[in-house]
């Protein structure tokens, strides 16, 4: 995804009116794709998709089956499951990153998508942060403390690390609740193969 492209949201929903409504709400801020059932949803899914809004109860492939396939394909996208009933605590184990109970309000939908994109942003910041920390560790492991004290590169790295750490702590407000925590960890596991 380049800087200028809006994030891509894929809506998988069998009721056309409902899908259209979500699209109207989101299309100002995001590139929206729509699949009318599980099979169509999977066809539209590629690595450019950032967030999937997945209806749980659909004819044909169910939301749960689509989700399983998404996880098997190891795509980096975040999935919000849309359900008719409020799920219990066991949702954490089901492999989706957020859930929305029908009927959904516009504000709620926007908040969920924003939150899931923030998780992805947190992942990529963490990735950058790690790259800096690893460089620093390599210098620390190979140079003497006298050499480090004189190294401009080391000084610059150290400053960048401090800055990045504050960015991670502040900009995204940390990992506040259980859903965020699990969704972020799930992101780490998904990226293990990289």
């Amino acid at each position: 995804m380049s800087e200028s492209d809006p994030p891509v949201v894929l809506i998988v929903e069998d009721e056309p009116d409902v899908a259209e409504t979500y699209k109207l709400w989101l299309q100002g801020d995001y590139e929206v794709r729509m699949g009318q059932n599980g099979d169509e949803g999977l066809e539209l899914l590629d690595e450019t998709v950032d967030v999937v809004l997945l209806d749980r109860m659909m004819p044909g492939l169910s939301g749960d089956e689509v989700l399983r396939e998404i996880r098997e394909r190891d795509l980096g996208c975040r999935v919000a499951m849309v359900t008719a009933v409020e799920p219990d605590f066991d949702i954490l184990e089901m492999g989706f990153d957020a859930y929305l109970s029908k009927p959904i309000r516009s504000e709620q939908l926007h908040d969920t998508v924003t939150n899931l994109l923030e998780r992805s942003e947190y992942d990529s910041l963490l990735q950058e942060y790690y790259a800096l920390v690893e460089k620093q560790a390599t210098l620390e492991a190979t140079k003497s403390s006298a050499e480090l004290a004189e190294s401009d590169q080391y000084e610059k790295l150290t400053e960048e690390i401090v800055e990045m750490r504050e960015g991670l702590d502040d900009a995204l407000g940390g990992v506040e609740d259980d859903d965020d925590f699990i969704a972020t960890l799930r992101g780490l596991s998904d990226n293990e193969e990289e």
Binding site: Q136, L168, D169
Partner: protein
Amino acid sequence: MYDLSSVLDFDALAEVRPGSSILVSGPAMTGKESLAYDILADGARDGDGAVVVTTGDKASSVVDEFRDRVPELQGAQLGVIDCRGEGGSDPEVIDGVSVHQVSSPGDLTGIGIGITKALEGLHDSGRERGRLALVSLSTMLTYTDKKTVFKFCHVLSSRLDAAGYIGVFTIDSGAHDQQTIQVIKQAFDGLIDIREADGGGRQVRVLGLANEPTDWKKI
């Protein structure tokens, strides 16, 4: 604030900020695990919650260890996440303590879910303070790469920070290269460094939790 100085006598440990994560680093057989358990047990005596993530000891041994250290321990005060992958995948209860089984020390999402449930259970029983120990990162590093472990530690620290807990994580400094240790250290607020002293015994110092690193002290 958490006072860890009764377990390990350093001024730097007398007022540890809620949300701090501490790495306990030292060679094998220098008592890192025991120190982590002591820190949790000391809090449990004062009513703090305790969460143990274990990659080596059986959940039942962890429960026994805590009963030995804190005879008055209430079952609801302790949660154990057993990541050895040898038990079943279902949660179970050992002697009143809820135990969550995880398939392997590399299953980060599973460990996270176990921790979430343990935190939830402690919160429900009215405990607002608590301490978590993860023993050990060295085992996790044999199941997954250092980058993933680093990121996991960072995310978990952030979660503990939000909960106002303190976290104690152990690593075997002799089992990894210098660079790995340097990387992992960066995910923590503080470090308790253990080494073998000349002529026997152990020496300890504390870094990152006060303005200056402490001197080595014999324990």
